[in-house]
Symmetry: C2
DNA sequence: TAATAGAAATTACATCTGTAATCTTAGGAG
DNA sequence: CTCCTAAGATTACAGATGTAATTTCTATTA
């Protein structure tokens, strides 16, 4: 099992761009993030580089520029981060957290229906 | 509205001790955390000091020692941290996060019942 | 082929974190 | 009243992070 590198807050944005838009050049990442963060292009490049150094991102050379892609699975990172969050903020037990979120979140009727379905499935072991 | 100071991972443990056990001396915090973290007492004191400097913790003098207590509300901190988490990891929409957690968490029958109740309440606006 | 522009690599630098050790000081023991 | 001890205050120091700028290549253009 590979060790997931630790991804910082800012780096998460970069990873999300790479996860959702597949392999991208540095500039494409910059464009992708432009609406989400007010970073200078150089800042984005730095973040990409750090992720490469951490092993979270790899790249293929393509002429003089690189095409970057995520080297760690989104699902794994999300899972790790989620467990860490529940641990830190809720002391490890998910139920109070779920209750708080369910109460607080704006959920559409369909959202509620789906979540109830999930709960009912869990009910039957 | 007061700005919540940013509380780091390690600092969260200290805050939790103070939130749940009320005003404590530094040594009591150390004892409280002993089972949860393998920190030297000096480390715990440092964390307390940083929290005081950040305004998250205050203290009353009591002879030559201080009695520390949380100066920010647990609910507010938990809320802030939760929103930040959903934002970072799930891009701001709670539903996929809730679905993932509901599927993944080990929930007792009572847990499920309570969560369903919450959902049903939300259903009626 | 030489110059240029745009990538990537390297360097910068303050702040935050994790993890303590050392210094200072005031209150209690003698 | 003095000395010691334990609290709190200050200092330490490396690595992570946020946020870039500067330097170095290299492929393409003139």
């Amino acid at each position: 099992m590979k060790k997931l590198p630790k991804i910082s807050e800012s780096e998460w944005l970069v990873m999300q761009a790479l996860w959702s838009r597949g392999p991208l050049t540095a500039n494409e990442v910059v464009e992708e993030l432009a609406p989400k963060a007010k970073w200078k292009p150089k800042t984005v490049k730095t973040l990409i580089n750090r992720l490469v150094k951490k092993g979270a991102v790899k790249f293929k050379k393509e002429g003089r520029k690189y095409r970057y892609y995520a080297a760690v699975s989104e699902a794994k990172c999300v899972g790790t981060e989620s467990r860490s969050f529940v641990q830190r903020v809720y002391g490890g037990t998910a139920r109070p957290m779920l209750a708080a979120f369910l109460e607080d979140a704006e959920l559409s009727a369909e959202d509620i229906a789906e979540l109830k379905k999930i709960l009912e499935q869990k009910e039957g072991e």
